[in-house]
Assembly symmetry: C2
Homo-oligomer: 445 residues x 2
């Protein structure tokens, strides 16, 4: 009997744990699921004979070490900052580790020790990062196999609402952490490379410089730039690529309207507003508009941005931005917190709503002076509000990787990302069984 | 013989030290001037028989304490963060202290101890803060004396180039710390109160929401909001004032053009640009513009902001923003650093150039249902590049305050700002002898 220890039984662990339990009998696995909430752990294990629900404190070395020692593999779904400590314990007890999180410099530095311990520490094997790496590397390796050069690589990913439940003027609902959506893009300028030129887009311009793309069967999407595109060059072996760009997907029209909040300063999380508890959506909005004796908040907003279409205005009205009845009642709140409190009421998932995960890559390759444009896209719709598209796309690559490690298909040692053919090929193949499938198209340009 | 200890002999101490030396014989003062550069200290003392140039380390308690003990008054022109330590020594040796810097919470907390020691610690007695407090309080006290209520108070200050030397399309030269000008306004949104509504302007809008005002004999100026207007309410006893606003002055047209740098992201100091040493002004600018195969940087800039007037464009051309000959040669530079390196070449003072300090207050008072608008403005032109308007307006209030303390005219004890009539009246009166004079106007509105 092999033992799998899963640390964290939150939303993103649902599909992972279901997969492990489903395959546990044939493979003779015991799946030990730990969460600070024993109820959550029990719920995810749901009385499966090969599952054990635990509630030890994974952040306490004394509590976690006996469990890590006992395990054949550890899967950490904890927040990324805890992974290095877990990894050190895994090295000490010669237990392999998988996490879907971005690899840190500290984690990278454990490579030699992991090899020496004879274990694999696999990182960035969720969806973004994870499926993005695997699906991109598959296409890149195909291009390289033809001896073509790679001129451009653009890649986009977004968590959205499924088309059948897309029924509001923003074409958006929160399918993941609302706070992250509100503060997305803040900080240093987004940086990418275009035709060998480094390009920078500051936060104030981010939602105005958009790419638009069409995915067959799903319509049009727009993408705004992620903070970091540069680090993907070395990950994918594309150090001298003339163009590399990473972006986040929204439905067309979202960014232009979101930009109104950005420009007004309503997404700022760096300071507290005076007497915030007494503000209403209307007075909150008016705080960012100039004082005019005889102009309504509605008309100031229209004028301030010279809305050229009524659709824009409708988006704000639909959110209830002009309502004045109910104060927020949140003391010492930042603008971002107040905006979030408006949005979570309106962008919440209704009963039965499903999420949608969209990924889109565009490559330009060159061979014998001819350029080819290759696109590879994937759309995954959630099953329900437990087995969401996000949970499936994050958890299934982790789970499949665990199975391949336990069954000996993956023999790799050291600290890794899933960019090798021997890793991504079997995982992408099996993901297709779960509807996580990339559609490729190509054309000469 | 009384002893005055001046800590710091930099640019802002020139007029202060000249005043003290000039009055030292009649008042029997010894003026001891300390600076980390003995040359600078000597230069400022310029062999005056009542002056002594020193070069002890004012940040070292062992070195400064004997000097503080010996002094009848200490004037600290050091960076603000060192003042509290100096103040504690002054309390220990019962020596009064003057600084032109903003008062800190720690400084405020020394009030009881200062009273007990029988000394005065006077803060914020330069120009801004300093002359702004004194000149505003004089008008506010006049209004209150008539039993009128104060409806609105707006106040602006700016360091600019004298009209006779104002010969570039920006109508601006650096007369003070260039770096502070480049990063001005960054951070939390500017906050003020207008008609009892708290208003917030984020950095991205700061240079677009301007007040314009005329000062007789000097033409038109524009003002953008300072970060903090709220704290002035309690300083001036205006806790319930419906409108309070503080701003920074520029010549009309400056802010609109400066906003181009802000919008492009060229004032950002939070990250380093890739391969910054090899960038030129042109490629630096192009880093913030979208890639277009056949459009010049010039036309992209025009188009990106849809310049409606050629004057705007000329400002950027005059700065040399399109030049491509000489790389910056500055490795690991932030956008703000590169922009500063362009500006310091172009906005530097020429030989003989004089600076100009402008202050403008606008009050609206109400009595018996009638509203009166009162403006009070002051323009000070520098004498040369040592006795600048900045040096005069910062140093002279400090110096006059010192004289009044040493001659017994000011008897106050404790930690203070210059907002009491017994302080501001004699100081403002004497400042007029140096041409630092406010012109008041009023009209019923």
């Amino acid at each position: 009997m092999q033992t799998i220890l899963v640390l964290g039984a939150g939303l993103s662990s649902s599909s992972l744990i279901r997969y492990l339990l489903k395959h546990s009998v044939e493979n003779e696995w015991q799946v030990r699921v730990d969460d600070q909430s024993i109820e959550l752990a029990k719920q995810k294990v749901s009385n499966h004979p090969n599952g054990v629900a635990l509630s030890f404190n994974a952040l306490d070395p004394e509590e976690r070490r006996p469990e890590i020692e006992k395990a054949d593999i550890v899967i950490s779904m904890l927040p990324a900052r805890f992974h290095v400590e877990i990894a050190k314990d895994c090295i000490a007890y010669k237990t392999s580790l998988i996490t879907p999180s971005y690899i840190s410099t500290e984690m990278r530095a454990l490579d030699a020790e992991a090899r020496k311990a004879g274990i694999l520490i696999m990182n960035e094997i969720g969806v973004d990062p994870g499926i993005d790496h695997m699906s991109a590397c598959r296409v890149l390796d195909h291009i390289r196999a033809k001896d073509a050069s790679i001129h451009s690589f653009k890649s986009f990913c977004g968590g959205l609402i499924a088309p059948e439940n897309d029924n509001n003027p923003w074409n958006y609902k929160f399918t993941w952490n609302p706070r992250n959506v509100v503060v997305a893009g803040q900080g240093s300028a987004a940086c990418f490379v275009e035709e060998n030129q480094y390009k920078y887009i500051p936060y104030g311009r981010l939602f105005q410089r958009l790419d638009v793309m069409e995915i067959e069967g799903y319509g049009a999407f727009e993408g705004y730039a992620n903070r970091d595109s540069l680090s993907y060059r070395s990950i994918y072996g594309l150090d001298n690529i003339p163009t590399i760009y990473r972006g986040t997907l929204r439905r067309v029209g979202f960014s232009k309207a979101w930009n109104v909040f950005v420009q007004l300063g309503m997404t700022d999380d760096s300071y507290k507003m005076e007497k915030s508890e007494g503000l209403t959506p209307r007075t909150f909005l008016n705080s960012f508009l100039p004082f005019k004796e005889v102009t309504s908040v509605e008309n100031k907003l229209r004028k301030y941005f010279t809305f050229e279409d009524e659709e824009m205005y409708q988006k704000f009205e639909w959110l209830g931005m002009f309502e004045n009845d109910e104060p927020f009642g949140i003391p010492n709140a930042s603008p971002a917190q107040l905006l979030e409190s408006i949005l979570i009421k309106k962008w919440k998932l209704d009963k039965g709503d499903k999420d949608m995960l969209v990924m889109f890559h565009e490559f330009v390759s060159e061979l014998n002076g001819k350029r080819e444009r290759i696109t590879s896209s994937m759309v995954s719709i959630g099953e329900d509000q437990t087995y969401t598209a996000m949970s499936n796309t994050v958890g299934l690559p982790v789970a499949i990787c665990a199975k391949m490690m336990l069954t000996g298909i993956i023999q790799l040692k050291g600290v890794h990302l899933p960019v090798l053919k021997s890793i991504y090929d079997p995982i992408l193949d099996e993901l297709e069984e779960y509807g996580i499938k990339f559609e490729e198209k190509s054309e000469l340009i």
